[in-house]
Symmetry: C2
């Protein structure tokens, strides 16, 4: 048996009662923290917080699955991951590999930035288009597919959740906004300017979480505190959404008149 247990967003208090029980009952607990991570507790300290030994796996060990599948063949194995467990492709692939080998699998769902960020800002989840990820630009490689997807959402009036790279370190909202403006310079399709309304969600799920909305030119130098950061580009706002952005995220009141 292989059980994927989501840890949610912040620390071990975000674990569900079901997830806690699965961890307690497991023969072996593995942990994976390169696709996503908790902000309130270091992977190395998780074992103590959960009262269980946790074997933290390398990226390769999760991707090839050998060790996990070998153990899950005869033992009750739990793999703990931040957020909701099946958001990462790697975990789906691992689950398919397990089922192919006759190993039963289970999922213990948990909260995800995909619904937490819209909720914190008061934007309606069903008005979001496709989620995009913003990678760190590499030397000689500046991918702009995120820009293209954002443009499609904007043309449809939909909001966009923009997830920021966490490798080799978490990207800040400030860095992300700079990258978006650089994309604009390359593509020039008028998605981003200093007057674009944009929102930052920082440390979703944490007691010191933050939701702030404003014009990109003002936000780009804002101090949002420590990571993880997420951006949301609002599309066409319903009046109730504009009001929520003003009241809950400090957006300029003039957006109510638009």
């Amino acid at each position: 048996m292989l059980t994927f247990v989501g840890l949610g967003l912040y620390n071990t208090e975000d674990l569900t009662i079901r997830g806690k029980r699965e961890i307690e009952e497991a023969d072996i607990v593995f942990g994976e923290f390169y696709t996503s991570r908790l902000i309130g507790v270091n992977p190395e300290d998780l074992g103590e917080a959960l009262g269980r030994e946790i074997k933290i796996l390398s990226r390769e060990e999760v991707e090839n699955g050998k060790l996990i599948l070998k153990e899950a063949k005869s033992k009750n194995v739990v793999l703990i991951v931040a957020g909701d467990p099946m958001i990462a492709t790697t975990h789906v692939a691992l689950r398919v590999m397990a089922e192919e080998r006759g190993i039963k699998t289970k999922i213990v769902h948990n909260s995800s930035i995909v619904t937490a960020a819209p909720g914190m800002l008061g934007l309606q989840q069903y008005k979001f288009g496709r989620t995009v990820s913003l990678p760190f630009p590499q030397e000689n490689y500046f991918p702009t597919s995120a820009y293209d997807f954002i443009k499609i959402n904007q043309n449809l009036g939909l909001h966009t959740l923009i997830l920021l790279d966490i490798n080799p370190r978490p990207m800040t909202a400030n860095e992300a906004m700079k990258i978006l403006l650089e994309m604009e310079e390359k593509k020039r399709e008028k998605i981003f300017s200093k007057n674009t309304l944009i929102a930052v969600v920082a440390r979703a799920g944490a007691p010191n979480s933050l939701a702030r909305a404003g014009y990109l030119g003002d936000m780009i130098n804002g101090d949002f505190g420590s990571p993880l950061h997420t951006l949301v580009l609002p599309g066409k706002l319903h009046f109730a959404e504009a009001e929520a952005l003003v009241k809950l995220a400090g957006a300029p009141e003039e957006i109510l008149d638009k």
Copy 2:
């Protein structure tokens, strides 16, 4: 203080440790179950399961907010809701009303069908377009906006999460598929036919949850067990997604060749 505590998907085991603590520490616990509900426990039995008296509110009491806000002015009030708390517009409106009155608010996030359903099917969440809701048709009123939104997602190659009405009772996947075919008859834009690949998620988060994919003509008479049901219309499938649908949801193997 007004704290919105998400209960997750199935029963009280899906509550997070943080959520449980907030309920224990609250002066008053209100519950709201018309926007969404748990499938593993009746609202009336929740109080016993949680060891707290829970005052279940009517739709009107949540929407006008009077009682909740009056109590939250001086007391530590928790409002428990199924899923992730801010998915419903009503809760965002209530939160805005509270903040306007100087009442601090907090959100305890939890799992949502929005990420659970893609995960159960092995479909990538970032390849979903806008989520749509399918209401029960009323006499003389057969809204087809869901069809239009689905068409946009299909044209973009994106998957669509189709949430089914829960009022006055939970719509079954079978009923939903019939409604989609009726929409097709009205609109005739070639989204749905008996050969359309479609997926059903039933009882997400429950021990007896089910994920099944197949052709609409076969699925429409399928037995998916008791509600809640959710539909997913897959868009363009990555090979790994097609493989997941076959291995995890019993889709016909021929979809691997497409």
